[in-house]
Amino acid sequence: MARMDSAAVGLLLLGVGILVFASPLTTWWFSREPPWYSAFCIGFGYIALVALLVGRQRHDL
């Protein structure tokens, strides 16, 4: 996978974060009475994505 620049990574993660945590998709998913731990599983998945994308960034100070 080609290395993305910081802005692209940030915006991608923000977009995915909003979609997963604060969109109609979130409301729909939780209206289907998922297991109680599903919110945490989604959280872990999102954090893994952050680790994958931000970890690839090598731009420091």
Binding site: L14, G17, F21, E33, F44, Q57
Partner: protein, 979 residues
């Protein structure tokens, strides 16, 4: 199960002592440095976010609002996911300009003391009740465990201990560059305790209430309303609002900002934190639902906010109860310590110092330290005062959200700081005041009010302080704030300093010194700073800045002194805030704005700034920068040495070609006086600048490596057409090689003339010699004179032979075209060359010996080969001392003949071995040798498919040997025949 107050007091005190030991061990190096500086420790230290609100209050929050409590963690996850575009730029900004708090950041960005004051007051107002909340949680948790009335003494002692800890380990240094590793390690340890206690409690709660994981699921299936209630608020307005509030709080809360930026050791720590810290919080949050449901299943009567303690007590394990209690102590103490540290720094920089002003003091640093320590004590005391007044109010969550809402008012400013350079000071202040006022009236005031109800728009806001209410407030306050910020910014204009600060925040540094420094040395900096800071502090600051910039006290280059001035300002900013630091530097380290040499003096700084800001330039600025680079590159790539000399004879440019000519690099010369340029270059430049002439040709310059010849040109640099500022541009052209070539050609011409003369003389000598030979033959017929006549004949023959050889050698040089190769005997050629060389008196004392078979033939041209031998013999003679020996041997090797000429001279030094075949390379003094001999040999031999190599003599003795390879006469290559 209950505990005595004494036991709880001792436990809490012992735990805080453990923190002291950890902090001390980290600072003293008893804990390995690699561990203390590990990114994991940094990530755990960010766990200060989880206060007693998270530790105790999350269960109560979940009981009231279900999964809504998770937004307090998910908002942080979203904020840290934006690390590359939000946190990293902020980290770079704070580290570059040594900004220690969010108030410093805004004061710097908007170049406004008022902005710093307002932000400090806002954060102070939002944080003090939050500190009070922690004290209350400690007090109430003690009450829950002891079953006694609120134990005030525990609260007082707790406040005293955290004050002492914060003062000792958090206010040790006055500069943000010196990190408090002990504090970070202790806070990280506290985060571990919180996590361990809560996760362990969740596991025990599941086992105790449900008999295991499966039991929990069975209970949830049996009680579907619990799960429905748990998910009911997901996606609601409150959900989005709280997500937004915690997003802002993740890095704007004073304690978060302090740990994230002020105590950051390396950016890689922040990269790890972007996923590590949300992971920590998610694990912490995952422990909450099982504890909540266990408490419900067990039918506990403990308030939901303290279900954590209730479960621990129900387990009948004193150890678990104490661990849980200490987890709460951890959460409260960490929050109070770090928050007061951050607030004390803000209060000192923006409230206290502007009022008391910095005055000369024998120990300024000590004074600042004690001021900060007093502020820490004062803040914790104020928190305790709040605690006493808030003791009767309900709920941990409300105060946490009030604090978060205060932090959210800074979010529009942060967005403007990072991405809207046109935002103005007036816009930011107006926006903050608008949002802050709504926050104060709708969130803070009702919470503080003991009278009620308070009606606004028909709503009793004193009783409506639910998460949904704060979600709505988040929208109204922040959107009002943002709209006012944008509107006022569009209606107002930035001043130049504000514009400059805005550019610096975008990492586009347009800050270029507006004048020439009056001070001419670091010593003068000290003198100028002394009236404000006192001599010891002024000297210490200059020493520190010199070390930061790797400069010496003897430094006098204006551009370096400008950098020193900026470093001093940056260092003072870390100590006193950016506005005061700038005021001090502007007031003390003054600039002469009228100086005519400002641009030349600061050229280096301007170029550095433009290089740093390259990516941030857009439009016409970017095009101008590209043009500047092109012009500069023209000067840099010019094959002539270029030196620009400003008024005052300081060097403003020194290009790479000049580096090559002089061997002196630009970095060592820029900003120096011409007189400081190492000899003899400095004298040459000074002398030439002072001369009336604009051009000087073939000026000789004696250097240790030999004389160099230079052409010099100079011109005045005009600022405007027709005007000038007395800056000079000097071009230096090294014409040494050309001059040397001319000398060699003249020398060769002289030699050629002598050769022609010698050939003429030889020809003229031939006639008398022939006559003498005839007379000697006649004389030989006389028996009495036969012996003498025979001797005369032999001597005349010898003279004739010498003359013939000389004549033929001279004639051979006239024909430039290579001679056709032929089978030629080698021995006569070697002998002939030997005889020629021995005509030189220098060769008289050298013995020539030959070991060449008479029938040995090579494929070459006679005269050319003689030339080869003569050149090699000449070199051998020059290298040999009197009595030396030059031996020539030859042997056949397949299709070649290998000729070896060995001398007994000094050999070939390794330093010149690689250069001896190069044209014009000579070890002889100028005028004594052309440096073309060996090059000519190589050229001739390559024409006949031969080769030559020179090496030091192997085996015994010193000396050198030349090894020639030539084709054998019987091995004519066809192309040679065709040539």
């Amino acid at each position: 199960m209950t505990f005595s107050l004494g036991a709880l007091f001792l436990s809490a005190s012992a735990y805080l002592l453990v923190l002291f030991v950890i902090a001390q061990a980290s600072e003293k190096g008893w804990i390995p440095r690699a561990l203390v500086r590990h990114p994991a420790v940094y990530v755990l230290s960010l766990g200060v976010y989880a206060t007693t609100w998270s530790y105790y209050g999350s269960v109560g929050f979940a009981a009231d609002s279900g999964l809504l409590y998770l937004t307090i963690y998910l908002g942080v996850t979203l904020a840290f996911a934006l690390a590359p575009i939000v946190l990293m730029p902020l980290l770079r900004l704070t580290q570059r300009h040594q900004l220690t708090s969010i108030a410093d950041v805004f004061a710097f960005r908007f170049d406004s003391r008022l902005a710093g004051v307002l932000v400090t007051l806002m954060l102070l107002t939002g944080s003090l009740p939050y500190i009070a909340l922690q004290i209350r949680a400690v007090s109430e948790s003690t009450q829950v465990l002891s079953g006694d009335s609120p134990p005030q003494v525990i609260a007082v002692v707790f406040c005293l201990l955290v004050s002492v800890f914060a003062i000792i380990f958090g206010a040790r240094h006055v500069s943000p560059r010196e990190k408090h590793s002990g504090l970070v390690a202790a806070i990280a340890f506290e985060s571990l305790i919180k996590l361990f206690a809560l996760v362990l409690l969740a596991i025990i709660a599941i086992a105790m209430a449900f008999g295991g994981w499966g039991g929990l699921h069975t209970w949830l299936e049996a009680n579907p309303t619990r799960l429905d209630a748990f998910h009911s608020d997901v996606g609601s307005q409150a959900w989005t609002g709280l997500l937004f509030l915690s997003f802002a709080a993740a890095f704007l809360l004073p304690r978060q900002f302090h740990m994230l930026f002020a105590e950051n050791l390396h950016p890689r720590g922040l990269r790890t934190a972007s996923w590590g810290f949300p992971l920590y919080l998610l694990v912490l949050a995952m422990a909450i639902p099982p504890i909540l449901w266990a408490a419900q299943a067990l039918g506990m009567t403990t308030p939901a906010d303290y279900s954590v303690l209730g479960i621990a007590m129900a387990s009948d394990s004193a150890a678990l109860a104490l661990l849980t209690y200490l987890g709460g102590i951890s959460a409260a103490s960490a929050m109070i310590i770090v928050t007061t540290l951050a607030l004390s720094s803000m209060c000192l920089n923006h409230l206290v110092l502007p009022i008391i002003r910095v005055t000369p003091h024998p120990d300024l640093y000590g004074r600042l330290r004690w001021l900060r320590r007093a502020l820490i004590g004062g803040l914790i005391a104020a928190g305790y005062g709040f605690y006493l007044s808030l003791a009767q109010t309900e709920g941990l969550v409300a105060w946490g959200l009030i604090s978060f809402l205060a932090m959210a008012q800074l979010l529009p400013g942060i967005i403007a700081l990072l991405s809207w350079p046109a935002a103005t000071r007036a816009g930011f202040i107006a926006g903050l005041m608008a949002g802050g006022t709504i926050w104060g009236f709708t969130a803070l005031l009702p919470a503080l009010s003991t009278v009620g109800p308070i009606h606004i728009a028909g709503l009793d806001i004193a009783t409506a302080q639910s998460p949904a209410y704060f979600g709505q407030l988040a929208f109204w306050t922040v959107s009002t704030n943002a709209i006012v910020l944008v509107a006022v910014s569009l209606l107002t204009r930035q001043n130049p300093r504000e514009y400059e600060a805005a550019a610096a925040c975008r990492e586009v540094s347009v800050r270029i010194p507006s004048g020439a420094l009056i001070a001419t040395s670091p010593g003068e900096f000290v003198v100028q700073l002394t009236p404000v800071m006192g001599e010891p502090a002024a000297r210490a600051e200059i020493e520190k800045a010199l070390n930061d910039r790797n400069l010496a006290w003897s430094e006098n280059r204006p551009n370096r002194l400008q950098q020193l001035r900026e470093q001093v300002q940056s260092n003072l900013s870390g100590m006193m805030g950016p506005v005061l630091a700038r005021d001090i530097v502007d007031e003390c380290l003054r600039l002469d704005v009228d100086s005519r040499s400002v641009i030349a003096q600061n050229m280096h700084i301007i170029e550095e700034r433009l290089e740093q800001s390259r990516n941030g330039l857009r439009g016409i600025a970017a095009e101008l920068d590209a043009l500047r680079r092109y012009h500069r590159q023209m000067l840099e790539d010019l094959p002539l040495g270029v030196v620009a000399i400003s008024t005052g004879k300081r060097i403003a440019r020194w290009n790479p070609a000049l580096h090559q000519i002089t061997g002196i690099g630009a970095s060592a010369m820029l900003g120096r006086l011409v007189s400081e340029v190492p000899a003899p270059w400095g004298e040459l430049l000074e002398q030439f600048i002072d001369e009336n002439t604009s051009h000087a040709y073939k000026r000789s310059l004696p250097l240790p490596q030999g004389v160099r010849w230079l052409n010099l040109h100079k011109t005045l640099i005009s600022e405007t057409p027709g005007g000038s500022n007395n800056d000079y541009l000097v071009l230096i052209e090294d014409v040494t090689d050309g001059q040397r070539l001319e000398d060699e050609l003249a020398h060769s011409e002289r030699l050629a003339s002598i050769g022609r003369l010698a050939a003429g003389v030889a020809h003229e000598i031939g006639n008398p010699i022939t006559a003498i030979a005839c007379l000697a033959q006649e004389l030989a017929q006389d028996n009495n004179q036969q012996t003498s006549a025979q001797s005369i004949l032999e001597q005349t023959q010898r003279i004739s032979h010498i003359v013939q050889t000389l004549t033929s050698y001279a004639h051979a040089g006239h024909d430039a075209t290579p001679q056709r190769p032929d089978d030629i005997p080698l021995l006569p050629i070697a002998l002939e060359a030997g005889r020629l060389v021995q005509l030189d008196p220098e060769a008289n004392q050298i013995e020539f010996t030959y070991d060449i078979a008479k029938d040995m033939q090579v494929l070459a041209a006679h005269q050319s080969l003689v030339q080869v031998f003569v050149n090699l013999y000449n070199n051998a003679v020059h290298a040999s001392a009197d009595g030396g020996r030059i031996h020539t041997s030859a042997k056949r090797q397949r299709n070649h003949v290998q000729i070896r000429i060995t001398d007994s001279g000094h050999g070939i030094p390794s330093s010149i071995r690689s250069k001896i075949m190069e044209p014009f390379f000579t070890t002889k003094r100028p005028g004594e040798g052309t440096g073309l001999g060996l090059a000519l040999v190589d050229n001739i031999l390559s024409h006949y498919h031969g080769s030559v190599r020179l090496q030091s003599r192997r085996g015994r003795g010193t000396g050198a040997e030349a090894i020639i390879q030539l084709p054998r006469a019987t091995a004519k290559p066809p192309e040679v025949l065709d040539a």
